[in-house]
């Protein structure tokens, strides 16, 4: 996925010289996760900028740049470090369009590598996406496959709305599949394509017995759990990869739940007021009569993300997803 994101940034910067990158340690070294590797060489230090260590400054300056007409892409070094920039995101990035009659959106992309499973020290493994989904005016997306990462990044940059782009760091290196060279739409003349790319869910595995709704790092795990269910009890689970966390592709989600009659939501973030609560509510509200069982949730716990020796206890695993699925199936 890292290479796919890097490719997208190359393509977007090549196609439009208003695209600029800001972040800590992104230029000279190519970033902690190397997502921006090589971009400094290609586009120079005015467009690929190592900034001072101050996230409110980074996000705030990016908003000012967007007001001028640039298309900034900001890297937050690790999930938790977005909080110093939280005020700028909530009170400005999210409301600039609304505050200007829709005429001047803060067209920025905020890239946030997030989640656990990389054996990192304290405060390098959080999943804050639900906070952004609760803030009106933002789009929140999360790719799972390299191809999606490339396409969604291009769409996020071209889309006028501010986009919080959650990057599942645990699967940064997974799936070395080839990514197409051609962009998913003619860059610079998108014509509605980015909106579509950024707002639709993807069926990651087909099936009609159980809908597993998830996103990011837990998509591959959910597919594994689905395979196990198929093997162990002949159950075919449909895995819905949300891709868009706000707005949720409610059609795809309710269709899956109602066709399967049973559903499970899976994510890494804490449970209470997480995205799973929203998905579960949406399903019950809309298609409860089609359900054979309440929607289940397999999530992180309402506890601080643990020190890494215990992170596999905290993270939803194939075992936990399978157990959660079995509970929904055996209800």
């Amino acid at each position: 996925m890292v290479e796919a994101l890097n490719k997208a940034l190359h393509q977007a910067m090549e196609a439009d010289d208003r695209v600029v990158l800001l972040g800590q340690d992104i230029a000279q070294t190519g970033g902690v996760f190397r997502v921006t590797a090589g971009l400094l060489d290609s586009f120079g230090e005015t467009r690929v900028v190592d900034t001072p260590l101050a996230e409110a400054g980074i996000v705030g300056c990016a908003i000012g740049m967007a007001v001028y007409g640039l298309l900034p892409v900001v890297e937050i070094q690790f999930d938790v470090f977005v909080y110093p920039g939280f005020e700028q995101i909530v009170v400005h990035a999210a409301r600039y369009a609304w505050r200007t009659k829709g005429e001047l959106p803060a067209s920025i992309v905020i890239r946030i590598p997030f989640g656990g499973g990389v054996r990192a020290p304290e405060l390098h493994s959080d999943s804050p996406e639900a906070l952004f989904c609760h803030v009106p005016g933002l789009r929140v997306v999360c790719p799972t496959t390299p191809q999606d990462a490339r396409d969604m990044m291009l769409a996020a940059i071209e889309h006028p709305d501010p986009v919080v782009f959650m990057e599942p760091k645990r699967i940064y290196r997974a799936g070395r599949k080839e990514v197409t060279d051609d962009p998913p739409f003619p860059l610079g003349q998108a014509n509605g394509a980015p909106e579509k790319i950024l707002s639709t869910a993807r069926i990651a595995r087909d099936g009609n017995d159980l809908a597993i709704v998830t996103y990011g790092p837990t998509v591959p795990l959910s597919i594994q759990a689905a395979d196990r269910l198929a093997h162990e009890r002949g159950i075919e689970a449909r895995v819905v990869d949300l891709r868009s966390l706000y707005p949720i592709d409610v059609g795809a989600v309710t269709k899956a739940a109602s066709e399967c009659g049973r559903a499970l939501v899976v994510h890494e973030a804490p449970r209470t007021a997480g995205l799973g609560a929203e998905v579960s509510s949406l399903i019950h509200e809309r298609v409860m009569l089609d359900l054979e069982a309440p929607v289940g949730r397999v999530t992180g716990y309402d506890a601080p993300f643990p020190q890494f020796a215990n992170e596999d206890d905290y993270l939803p695993s194939v075992d936990r997803i399978t157990a959660g699925a079995n509970k929904v199936l055996d209800f």
Partner: protein, 378 residues
């Protein structure tokens, strides 16, 4: 303590200084016209609030020089970023005064908001100091594009305490961008005096911490505000980076229409500062220079009254926006389904009447908030 840059004397002991290069007679008159227009807007807005025709209002009476003087030094292509205290600055750049009044009336969408790009004026900023990084980012963007466009942001003495002030200053200095940090040091942040806000005697001495130029001016002197800003912009355009300007003055009025300064300060102290207020002082100065006479003064005053009276008529002619305004403009490409559902829900219930401004309230209060009467329907 640093010397104050000052041009306008007091007509007695303190002598006038020569008008700086770049301000011809017509400029002085135009600048005076701006001052009067701002003052007229402000006084009328206060009256409207008293009458319950707009909501709580943050008046700037006495700070017109910091606004008009600084703006007059900017080129049309330069961007300015106001706080709530410079709420009407846009009217000097073509924003309809009725739009600003409508904003205070609680109207959104096309009624209370303008498109910043049309006027190079940022939206009225409420959260303290958060617009400073925008000004930094904007002039940085211009630099990246090779454009000769600078920016300026206004903020208060209290705003210097926020992290966003620090980060915006540092970024501007590091990237050497053409932006002016214009601090209106009116010595009060609501009820908090500057002595409780910082341990330094001045604001301007903070500039050095960022490797930035700084200058301290008499904030009641519009010519001084102009000159300091002009020089700062010139330096910025020359690649010499940003400047911090401290416009030293005094908040002559309450923080806002809901605030009662008697709760926290001695208003006889305020009275001592009153003679320094910029309109009377500038008028006297221009008359000493022979640039202004009573007739011209009256004409400018009348014209301003006319403009603002017209704006009030326009504001009051605005109908409350429809319910769809809740959703409009939030996202660029249409409305997400959540909005469509919201609209549908709203259509199922009777529409509540327009929420009218609260109007003045009895009893002591502070800050942005008027005290509703007990049993108030809200």
């Amino acid at each position: 303590m640093t010397e104050l840059l000052r041009y306008i004397g007091d007509g007695a002991g303190v002598p006038d200084r020569e008008v700086p290069d770049g301000l011809a007679e017509k400029d002085l008159i135009e600048l005076y016209r701006w001052l009067v227009l701002l003052r007229t807007f402000d006084e009328r807005a206060v009256a409207l609030q008293r009458q319950g025709r707009i909501g709580t209002y943050a008046l700037y009476w006495g700070e017109e020089g910091t606004q008009a003087g600084a703006l007059y030094a900017c080129e049309e292509r330069d961007w300015v970023f106001p706080s709530y205290r410079q709420n009407a600055i846009g009217i000097l750049r073509g924003v309809a005064p009725s739009t600003v009044l409508a904003w205070w009336r609680g109207y959104g969408g096309g009624h209370g908001f303008y498109n910043p790009r049309d006027h190079r004026v940022g939206p009225i900023c409420v959260p303290i100091a958060t617009h400073l990084p925008h000004a930094t980012g904007l002039s940085w963007a211009a630099k990246i594009r090779g454009d000769d466009v600078a920016s300026l942001s206004w903020f208060g003495d209290g705003a210097t305490s926020e992290g966003d002030f620090h980060e915006a200053m540092n970024f501007a200095a590091v990237f050497k961008v053409a932006t002016v940090f214009f601090c209106v040091n009116n010595q009060w942040a609501i009820s908090t005096p500057i002595s409780k806000q910082m341990a330094t005697a001045t604001v301007v001495e903070k500039a050095a911490a960022y490797g930035m130029n700084g200058i301290r001016v008499d904030g009641f002197d519009p010519i001084a505000c102009w000159k300091a800003t002009k020089d700062a912009l010139d330096r910025g355009r020359n690649g010499e980076g940003p400047t911090l300007i401290e416009a030293y003055c005094y908040r002559l009025k309450p923080h806002g229409t809901a605030d009662d300064p008697n709760l926290y300060r001695d208003e006889s102290e305020t009275a001592k500062w009153l003679p320094h207020e910029p309109i009377g002082r500038t008028s006297a100065f221009l008359k000493r220079l022979g640039v202004l006479d009573d007739d011209k003064e009256r004409a400018i005053g009348d014209e301003a009254k006319q403009t603002i009276a017209q704006a009030v008529v326009e504001m009051e002619a605005i109908d409350q926006p429809g319910r769809e305004i809740l959703f409009e403009g939030t996202y660029a490409t249409g409305m997400p389904w959540t909005f469509e559902e919201g609209l549908r829900e709203l259509e199922e219930v009777d529409r509540p009447p327009e929420v009218k401004p609260l109007g003045p309230q009895p009893g002591p209060s502070t800050g942005d908030h008027a005290e509703p009467k007990p049993g108030d329907p809200s």
